[in-house]
C-alpha cells in the first residue's frame, strides 16, 4: 500500500518539478550567458527530481513496484517457473530452443571425440604398431554402435509404444490445461491450500511481528500456489515432472546394440587385463574408448523421425502454457527488470537485481523491526538505553589502590565463619563500585558502540596528538625525535595494522579504540604541526612585544592560530576513523555496525546489509555536517586573516 502511494507521489513530484523547471526557464530573465557559474545556482526542484529518480530506480529494480501493485505476481511467476523447469529437460531433446535435435548433437560430439582419440593414437610415439591396430579396431567398433541406435527399422516395438504413450500423456495434459477448471480442485483441497498459503505468508517481509518474529523469518518467494492460475501451473509442473522422468527412463536399446556393446566392453576389458604396467598408455586409451561407448549407451539417441509426434505435443503444450500466462507475461517483462523468478526443483528464488537490491518496503519494515530493542540484531539493539547505577562509573573512575594504601588490613573471617566489615574493606567497596546509589540511563547497542569507538579513538588522538604536534612544530628536538616514529607507521594503511593490534589487544573495544587512536594520532600531529609552524612570525613578535610569556604565546597565539588546521585535521580524522572502524569490525568483534553487516553477509541478508550501509552513510554524514558546523562557528576567520 505504502509502496503504491510512494510510487505515485514520486511520479507526480517528478512530473511537477520538470514542469516547474521548464516554466522557470521561460519566466526567468536570461542575463547569464553560458559558462556563468550563476546558472548553476538554486534548483531545489531538480534536487527533488534527482532524489525521486534514485528512489524510483530503487523501487523499480528491486521489484518493489511489482510487489506493491501485484503482490501475488511473484507467487504466480514461481509456478510458471516450475513448469518451465519441468519442461526444460524435454524441450532440450528437440530443436525448440536449440538448433538441432539432442540426438544429432550428441552423435556429432561423440564422433568428434572418437576422431580426436584416433588421431592421437596414430601419432603416438609411446604405442607400438600392434597396440595401435587394436585400439583403432576398438574405435571403429564404437563408431559402428551409433547406426544401430538411429536405424528406424531396428527400433523395438516396446520402445515405440512407450513413446506413443508419453506423447499421449502430454497431449492429455495440454487438453486438460486449457480447460478452465483444471486441475479440478475439490472444496476441501481448496480450503487446505488457502490455509497453507495463509500460513506461508506473502512475498518478502509482509508480516512484521516484533513480538514473536526474529528477522530471519522472511520468505523470498512464497511457493504454495495462491491463485487458481498459479495452481494450474503448479499441477501441470508436477505432471510434467512425472512425464519427464518416464521419458528419461526410456532407453532405445535393441538386441543387436546390446550384444555389440557387451562384446565391445568385454573385449576392451580383456585387452586391458592383458596389458602390464609398462603399457599404461595403451590401457588409458582403451579406457577412454570405453567411456565414449558408455556415453553413447546412456544418451537418448533415437532415429531422426521417431520423436516427431512428441515434439509436436511439447510445442503445443508450451504454446498453451504461454497463452495461459496472459497478463502475467507483461508483468514479468515490465515489472521484473534485470531478472525474474526462477525455480529449481521445488523451490523458487529471485534471480537478478531483485535479489541483491532489497525492496524499499522490505528494508523499511526490517529496519523498523531491528530498531525495536527487543529484536535488535544478535540480541543487541541497534541503539537503546539501559539503566546503570552511578556506582559503577564511580568504581571505574576511582583506582582500586586507594583502598590498598590505607593503613590496616582487609577483614578476615572469624572462627564462627562471620566476616566483620572494617573501614579499609568499606573503602574497597566504594572504589570498586560495589554499592548502590541511583541509576542513570546509559545508551548502548550496535550504533552506540561504533560511535563510542570512533569518539574515544578520536579524543585520545586529539589529547595526545595536538600538544605533540604543536611541540613538534616549534621544537627541533621534538620534530626530529618523534618524526621517525610517526613517519614509520603513518604510511601503512591502518587496516594493515588491524590484524596485529586486534590479536594483541583483543577483539573487544580496546583493540579497535587503539587502532582508531593510531589513525587519528598521526593526522592530528601532522595538522597541529602544520598549524604551529604556519604561524606568522610577526604575530609571535607582536605577542612578545606585548609582554606575553612563552606559555601565553603558546596558549593565546600559536594554539588559536593552528585551530583551523587542527579542526580540518579532526574532520579528516573522523572520516578516516569511521572507514577504518567499520573494516576493523568486519575483521573481528561482537558488536558494532560493521559486525552487523559482516554477519548479515554470511546469511545473505541483503536487507540488513543495505540497512547497515544506510546507517553508516547517515552517521558519516552526521559527523561531517556537525564538524562543518563546529568549524564554521569556531573559526569564522579562516581564510580571512
Amino acid at each position: 500500500m505504502l509502496t503504491q502511494i510512494v510510487t505515485f507521489l514520486i511520479f507526480f513530484a517528478v512530473v511537477g518539478c520538470i514542469l516547474y523547471g521548464r516554466r522557470l526557464i521561460k519566466t526567468e530573465k536570461v542575463d547569464a550567458v553560458f559558462g556563468n557559474p550563476e546558472r548553476a545556482l538554486g534548483g531545489t526542484h531538480w534536487v527533488i527530481v534527482g532524489s525521486s529518480f534514485l528512489l524510483l530506480i530503487w523501487l523499480y529494480y528491486s521489484w518493489d513496484i511489482a510487489k506493491g501493485f501485484y503482490p501475488k505476481s511473484a507467487n504466480e511467476l514461481c509456478q510458471v517457473a516450475k513448469v518451465n523447469d519441468s519442461l526444460l529437460g524435454l524441450k532440450y531433446q528437440f530443436p525448440i530452443e536449440q538448433r538441432e535435435l539432442k540426438s544429432t548433437s550428441q552423435i556429432k560430439q561423440e564422433n568428434k571425440n572418437l576422431k580426436k582419440i584416433s588421431i592421437e593414437i596414430q601419432n603416438s610415439n609411446e604405442l607400438n604398431n600392434q597396440q595401435k591396430t587394436i585400439l583403432i579396431g576398438f574405435i571403429s567398433k564404437t563408431t559402428q554402435l551409433i547406426p544401430l541406435l538411429t536405424n528406424e527399422d531396428l527400433i523395438e516395438n516396446e520402445t515405440k509404444q512407450k513413446i506413443i504413450e508419453i506423447t499421449g500423456r502430454i497431449n492429455l495434459l495440454t487438453e486438460n490445461f486449457q480447460k478452465l477448471d483444471y486441475p479440478f480442485e475439490t472444496e476441501q483441497e481448496l480450503n487446505d491450500r488457502l490455509k497453507a498459503v495463509g500460513e506461508e505468508g506473502g512475498w518478502g517481509i509482509t508480516k512484521v511481528n516484533a513480538g514473536s518474529g526474529t528477522i530471519e523469518n522472511t520468505i523470498e518467494v512464497p511457493l504454495i500456489p495462491a491463485t487458481s492460475r498459479g495452481l494450474k501451473f503448479h499441477t501441470a509442473a508436477q505432471e510434467l515432472n512425472l512425464i519427464s522422468d518416464e521419458f528419461f527412463k526410456l532407453r532405445n536399446h535393441n538386441p543387436q546394440f546390446k550384444n555389440k556393446i557387451k562384446d565391445l566392453k568385454n573385449e576392451i576389458k580383456l585387452y586391458r587385463k592383458s596389458l602390464d604396467d609398462s603399457q599404461e598408455v595403451a590401457s588409458t586409451y582403451a579406457k577412454n574408448i570405453v567411456k565414449i561407448a558408455r556415453r553413447i549407451e546412456f544418451a537418448s539417441i533415437y532415429p531422426p523421425n521417431a520423436l516427431n509426434k512428441m515434439q509436436e505435443a511439447i510445442i503445443k503444450f508450451d504454446n498453451a502454457q504461454i497463452q495461459a500466462q496472459g497478463g502475467l507475461r507483461f508483468i514479468d517483462i515490465f515489472l521484473f527488470p534485470a531478472g525474474t523468478i526462477v525455480a529449481s526443483g521445488p523451490s523458487c528464488s529471485e534471480q537478478g537485481s531483485g535479489r541483491w537490491l532489497p525492496k524499499p518496503s522490505d528494508t523499511f519494515n526490517k529496519f523498523i523491526l531491528m530498531s525495536k530493542p527487543s529484536v535488535g540484531y544478535k540480541d543487541i539493539p541497534l541503539l537503546w538505553i539501559k539503566m546503570v547505577d552511578v556506582s559503577k562509573t564511580i568504581g571505574f573512575i576511582l583506582p582500586d589502590w586507594i583502598a590498598d594504601i590505607l593503613p590496616g588490613e582487609y577483614p578476615v573471617h572469624t572462627t564462627d565463619g562471620i566476616v566483620k566489615q572494617n573501614f579499609k574493606g568499606s573503602v574497597l567497596k566504594v572504589v570498586t563500585g560495589d554499592f548502590k546509589l541511583f541509576k542513570i540511563p546509559v545508551p548502548y547497542g550496535h550504533i552506540w558502540d561504533s560511535f563510542m569507538r570512533v569518539f574515544l579513538g578520536l579524543v585520545f588522538g586529539i589529547i595526545i596528538g595536538v600538544p605533540l604536534g604543536l611541540f613538534m612544530g616549534l621544537n627541533r628536538f621534538a620534530k626530529g625525535f618523534f618524526d621517525p616514529l610517526i613517519e614509520l607507521y603513518r604510511p601503512v594503511p591502518p587496516l594493515a595494522w588491524a590484524p596485529l593490534i586486534i590479536s594483541v589487544l583483543g577483539i573487544d573495544n580496546t583493540g579497535k579504540v587503539f587502532l582508531l587512536f593510531m589513525v587519528s594520532l598521526s593526522i592530528m600531529i601532522i595538522s597541529a604541526r602544520a598549524g604551529a609552524s604556519g604561524t606568522q612570525l610577526s604575530k609571535i613578535h607582536a605577542a612578545h612585544s606585548l609582554g606575553a610569556s612563552k606559555k601565553q604565546i603558546l596558549r593565546y597565539v600559536i594554539f588559536p592560530n593552528s585551530l583551523p588546521e587542527i579542526l580540518t585535521g579532526i574532520r579528516v580524522a573522523v572520516g578516516m576513523c569511521w572507514g577504518t572502524l567499520v573494516a576493523a569490525e568486519f575483521l573481528a568483534g561482537t558488536t558494532g555496525i560493521g559486525f552487523v553487516e559482516n554477519v548479515a553477509k554470511k546469511y545473505f541478508q541483503y536487507e540488513v546489509i543495505w540497512i547497515t550501509i544506510f546507517i553508516m552513510g547517515m552517521l558519516g554524514l552526521l559527523f561531517d555536517v556537525t564538524l562543518r558546523k563546529i568549524i564554521d562557528k569556531t573559526i569564522p576567520w579562516r581564510g580571512k586573516g
Binding site: H541, S545, L546, G547, Y556, I635, P636, K640
Partner: protein
C-alpha cells in the same frame, strides 16, 4: 635620560650559501625622548634589521644598543611594535586584540576595559570593540595595531612600514593620526618607510640608509612634522622646501639603487 643610544652596532648575517652579508655596520646614533625618527632607504639597507634589534627580536653581532641606559637583550613591553600587515590576532575581537598585553599581564579587567575604550576613541574606532578583526579594512586594522601597542604605554614605538599596505587616501589619514598620537603622547617613535614623502612628512629627524654594508648615509633634521601638527598635510606637500628635499632624497636613493643594479649585472 630615556634616550635610545646605539654604539658601534654591527650585524652580520650568513646566507645559506656561506656568504656573509653586512646588514649593519658601525651604527652610532642617539635618539632623545619624544623624537620622531623616520628611516628611509632602498631595500636591503638594514632598516628592518635595525628595528628588529631595537625590538629585541635579534641580537646584534657586536656593539650595544641601550634604552634608558638599559641594554636591550630581548623583547619587552617598553618597546611597542607596529607591523606592516597589522599582525593582529584574527581570532579575537578588536577590544580583545587591544587589551591583549594587559590581559597577559593579568591587569584588572574593569580598568583594562576603560583603557581600551579610551584608546579605541583616540584611534577612531569607537563602537568597533566587539567587531571581529577579520571584518575590518586595512586602515582600521592598522588603527587596532596602533591602539594595541600604545595601551601598554611603551617608551619607544617601533613602526615597520605601518602604512605600506594602505591606499593613498587611508594612508594620508593614518599619517595625521600618527602625528596626532606622537604629539599627544610625546612618545619616542622610530618609523620605517619606503615612501620618501612619508619620511619627510612624519620625520622630525630622518635617516637615509645605504646598503652593503647597511649604514646611515645621511641625516636630516626636518621641520615638516611640527608643521604637520598644525597644518593640513597636503599643504605641506606643496611647500617648495618640501619638494626640494624630496627631489634630493629621491635622487640619492636612485643613485644607490643604480649602484646596486650595476654591480649585479
Amino acid at each position: 635620560m630615556s634616550d635610545l643610544i646605539s654604539q658601534n652596532l654591527n650585524m652580520v648575517f650568513k646566507t645559506p650559501k656561506g656568504e656573509t652579508v653586512h646588514a649593519l655596520k658601525d651604527l652610532n646614533f642617539t635618539l632623545k625622548k619624544g623624537e620622531l625618527l623616520t628611516v628611509l632607504g632602498p631595500s636591503g639597507c638594514g632598516k628592518t634589521t635595525l628595528l628588529n634589534i631595537t625590538a629585541g627580536f635579534i641580537r646584534p653581532t657586536s656593539g650595544t644598543i641601550t634604552l634608558n641606559n638599559k641594554e636591550i637583550d630581548g623583547p619587552g613591553v617598553e618597546r611597542g611594535m607596529v607591523f606592516q600587515q597589522g599582525a593582529l590576532f584574527e581570532w579575537l575581537t578588536v577590544s580583545e586584540n587591544v587589551n591583549f598585553g594587559l590581559r597577559m599581564k593579568k591587569k584588572d579587567p574593569i580598568e583594562t576595559q576603560k583603557k581600551v575604550d579610551e584608546w579605541l576613541e583616540i584611534v577612531g574606532l569607537k563602537g568597533f570593540g566587539n567587531t571581529p578583526t577579520y571584518q575590518l579594512s586595512g586602515g582600521m586594522q592598522q588603527r587596532v595595531a596602533l591602539a594595541r601597542c600604545l595601551i601598554n604605554d611603551p617608551d619607544l614605538i617601533l613602526m615597520d612600514e605601518p602604512l605600506g599596505a594602505l591606499d593613498a587616501l587611508t594612508r594620508e589619514k593614518m599619517q595625521s593620526l600618527v602625528l596626532k598620537i606622537w604629539k599627544e603622547t610625546g612618545k619616542t617613535i622610530i618609523l620605517i618607510t619606503h615612501s620618501v614623502e612619508e619620511a619627510l612628512l612624519l620625520g622630525e629627524r630622518l635617516y637615509v640608509m645605504a646598503p652593503r654594508p647597511g649604514r646611515i648615509h645621511k641625516e636630516y633634521n626636518l621641520p615638516f612634522a611640527s608643521m604637520g601638527l598644525k597644518k593640513d598635510l597636503r599643504e605641506i606637500k606643496k611647500n617648495k622646501d618640501f619638494s626640494a628635499k624630496r627631489e634630493e632624497i629621491l635622487e640619492m636613493i636612485w643613485n644607490m639603487e643604480e649602484e646596486i643594479m650595476g654591480k649585479e649585472i
